[in-house]
Structures are given as structure tokens and as C-alpha cells.
Symmetry: C2
């Protein structure tokens, strides 16, 4: 009863998980969605999940908006079952809240939530960085440098006043931060961090819309990069705290959020 069945995996899960493999991956290949394996974009649930998620993150579906099945039905041409399934997932991912018999709504935003979220991110990010510094090798360093340069490029264009690069900025910023922690070696930490990162995206977007204090993000990223190469944990912890805190401050002071 207590003993476990030997292994019996593999039949269901064709995932490879790429332990030491290098994973070249050209990205922007066909389009989206196909990152590891097992994601089938032709599934309605998947389409619904992605569409709603994107609309929430982009602000297209504003915080506290009620998500009526009939409305989503028309908007995305997807039936009730896959929609509800997608919404259930989004609930667990904290982008949607549900009340029994009363449906779903986009998770509200507030300063206090962002305060909490920022603290959580600091905790996870710092631990992931610490571990990544321990386990990351030369390959990791090289990839990190590359991600930093790509990020710098798009930052230049953004600073030059081209707002069409906003989406690209978000992607590259994310890739840089992902790369930083990518060597941490903890599935749980990565999963959780990912979730928190995604939920912070709506707030980050507000931050980007504020163009008063000309904060030098590239410089901040450069300092973090240097600390990473030096494996200077205390330094990078301080930098990350400041980096995240600065974003929080800007958003909190913007007056665009309740509470």
C-alpha cells in the first residue's frame, strides 16, 4: 500500500527536460506556443487560455472586469467547456478570480497587492539568483551576456521614443531575467517565480507608461550582469531589491492604482 509503483512514466510524458543538453532553439521560428513539447495549439482550451491571458496582461481586459461565458464565447468563438477549463487554470495562476455560481472576473489590481507581489518576487528572485550563481557555468555566462546586449538594443529604441517596441521590450526584458535564474536547478522555484513574474506584468506595464524620471534601466541591468559574472551574491541581492523596489515605487506613486 505505501510502496510506490516502480516508475511507469514515459508512456504519458514524452518530455525530455534537457538536463545537460545545450538547447540551441532559434525562437521566433514559426510563431508562438511550441516551447518544450506537449503544448498543442490546436486545442480550444489552449487557445482560450492564451487569448484570455494575453488580453488580461495587455490590459485589454481591465482589472475587475467580469468574464461572462457568453461574452467570451462571442469574443473568441470558443464553447463553454474549454472556456471554463481555461478560466479555472487562470484562477490557479492568480490572473482570474472565481466565485461559485457567480462566475469569473479579472483579478483586481491594487497597490497593496503589488507591494505583496514585489516582496514575494524579491524573495524568489534572490534565492534563484543565489542558486544560479552556484550552478551556472561558462555557457550560462555567455548566454547572459548575449541576453543583456539584446535587451540594451531594444532599450535604446524605446528610449528614442518608439512605442511600437513595447511588446518586444517586455519579451527581451523577460528573457534577460529568465536567463539570470535559469541555472538555479530548482523546478519548484522556477515554476513559482514564473507565476509571480507573470502576475507582475500588468503592473510593469503601468511602470512603462510613466515617462517622467528617466530611470536608466540598462545601467541597472549592467550592474546586475557584472555582479553575476563575479558571483557576488550580496551585491546582486542588493541590486535586485533596488531594481524591483524602484518599479514598485514608480507604480505606487503614479496614482493609477486604488489603495
Amino acid at each position: 500500500m505505501a510502496t510506490l509503483p516502480k516508475v511507469r512514466k514515459a508512456e504519458l510524458a514524452p518530455s525530455k527536460k534537457a538536463g545537460g543538453a545545450v538547447a540551441v532553439m532559434s525562437k521566433q521560428d514559426t510563431d508562438v506556443t511550441d516551447q518544450g513539447a506537449d503544448e498543442d495549439a490546436s486545442l480550444r482550451v489552449h487557445a482560450a487560455w492564451e487569448a484570455i491571458r494575453d488580453d488580461i496582461l495587455s490590459g485589454n481586459l481591465a482589472p475587475s472586469t467580469r468574464l461572462r461565458i457568453s461574452m467570451l464565447n462571442k469574443k473568441y468563438s470558443i464553447g463553454a467547456s474549454p472556456l471554463r477549463e481555461a478560466l479555472s487554470r487562470l484562477v490557479s495562476e492568480n490572473l482570474v478570480v472565481a466565485v461559485d455560481r457567480r462566475g469569473f472576473m479579472v483579478t483586481p489590481m491594487s497597490v497593496s497587492d503589488f507591494r505583496d507581489l514585489t516582496n514575494m518576487r524579491k524573495l524568489l528572485e534572490k534565492e534563484a539568483l543565489r542558486l544560479s550563481f552556484q550552478h551556472g557555468g561558462e555557457r550560462w555566462e555567455a548566454d547572459l551576456v548575449a541576453a543583456f546586449y539584446r535587451m540594451g538594443r531594444v532599450q535604446e529604441r524605446l528610449d528614442a521614443g518608439d512605442p511600437s517596441t513595447l511588446a518586444e521590450w517586455e519579451v527581451l526584458n523577460r528573457e534577460y531575467h529568465d536567463k539570470l535564474v535559469s541555472a538555479c536547478g530548482s523546478e519548484w522555484l522556477m515554476r513559482t517565480r514564473e507565476n509571480v513574474y507573470v502576475c507582475a506584468e500588468r503592473y510593469r506595464r503601468i511602470c512603462l507608461s510613466i515617462r517622467n524620471v528617466p530611470r536608466d534601466v540598462t545601467k541597472e541591468h549592467k550592474q546586475i550582469l557584472d555582479a553575476a559574472i563575479d558571483r557576488d551574491v550580496p551585491k546582486v541581492h542588493k541590486l535586485i531589491d533596488e531594481h524591483l523596489e524602484r518599479t514598485f515605487q514608480k507604480v505606487a506613486e503614479s496614482g493609477k492604482l486604488p489603495n
Copy 2:
């Protein structure tokens, strides 16, 4: 576009959230399910979610078991839509894994997963404790002492060799650890910790089934309690690390898990 709609909450969410209120709450009142508000036990999704979850945590549904809709259908007499919805939630909670077009299965267990999980728990638990020490007042201390004593009682009965108290032990152990961090004041931390705690339950159950080294859990809990009353953060961090690590070691060495 970027500005948010004023508040417009309340219509959907009747939750009170009890900021400073004391929340007496007699518990074991009518029965189960009705904890805060908005949980409607008559919903099939809810029933399915709870039933499958319990069966996974109790080991009734072994790790790596495939969860075929038809099988669950017969077992719980619930239709496909609510079942899939419940399974989707469980996927986000890491108790079930899904592969597109190939269905669901109970998340496998392994030593390496438990290693990772334990590290994650240490991180979250320690941070939550630190915050709880900061914010917890007299009321919190009193509740903590109460939870400790209740726990000690059931521990005695368990040590006396009564295996029927196992479920009760799990509940009280949980209440003690919950109480410890209950004053931390961070929604995100609590949510995440909760998820990790639940996923560790299957492993904890293995630990309980090993009755070789007569580990004195009550003493460990007492030390933690004392450190909590003293607000001794470094001490409680050390104790929690050891507490969780000890469980990990026992399970890892039991040979009941692959990898």
C-alpha cells in the same frame, strides 16, 4: 487606457477578509467546506476537485496513475466537464500533470522532487516565520500555544500505537504549522506556501509510515514554539531547516521512492 476603473468590486466578491477582526470561529461546526464564504459544496466541480485531491493525498490514487475521464466518471458519478475543470485546477496545483490530447495523471513522486520541494518549503516557511514574528501579537501567541497543546495530545495517542489517529494528526500538525505563519501578513506568501505544503503531504505520509527511529516530534515543536515566543528568528530558522530536513532524510532513506 492605462488608468484603472475606480473599484467596482463588491458586486462579485462578498468576501470580508477580516483585517483586524478577531474571527472567533468555532470550527467543526456543521461539517466541512464552509470556511470563508464563496465555496459551494453542491457544485460538481468542487466535489470532483476535493474527491480527487483527497484520493491523491491519501495515496488512494497512487503517483503516476492515469486519470481517465471515463474511470473518474464511474468512480465519482460526475460528468466530463466538471471533471476536466477540477483536473485543470489540480494541474496548476501540481498534484496532477496533463499532456495535451493524452489526458491526465497523478503527479509522480521522486526523491529529487521531494528534495526540491523541501528546499522550497524551507525558503517560504522561514520567510513567513520571520514576518509572522514581526507582526504577531499576543492573540497570535495564545493561539499558537493552544495549537501546540492540541498537537501534543494527538501525538501521544499516535505514539501509543493507535493508527486511527493518523488523519487527525495530519490535521493538527497542519494547524500548528499554519498558525506559526498565520501572522505573516502576505497573501502571496501564504497562498504559495499552502500549495507547497499540500504537495508535501504525500511525502509526509511516507515519513509517518516509517516507525524505526523514534523521532521526538513534540520536542521539535516545543523548541519551535519557544523560539516563536522569544521572537528568535535565527533560532527558528535553524529549527525549521532541521525539522524539514529530518523528514526529507527519513523519506529519502526509506527506499520507497524512485530516484
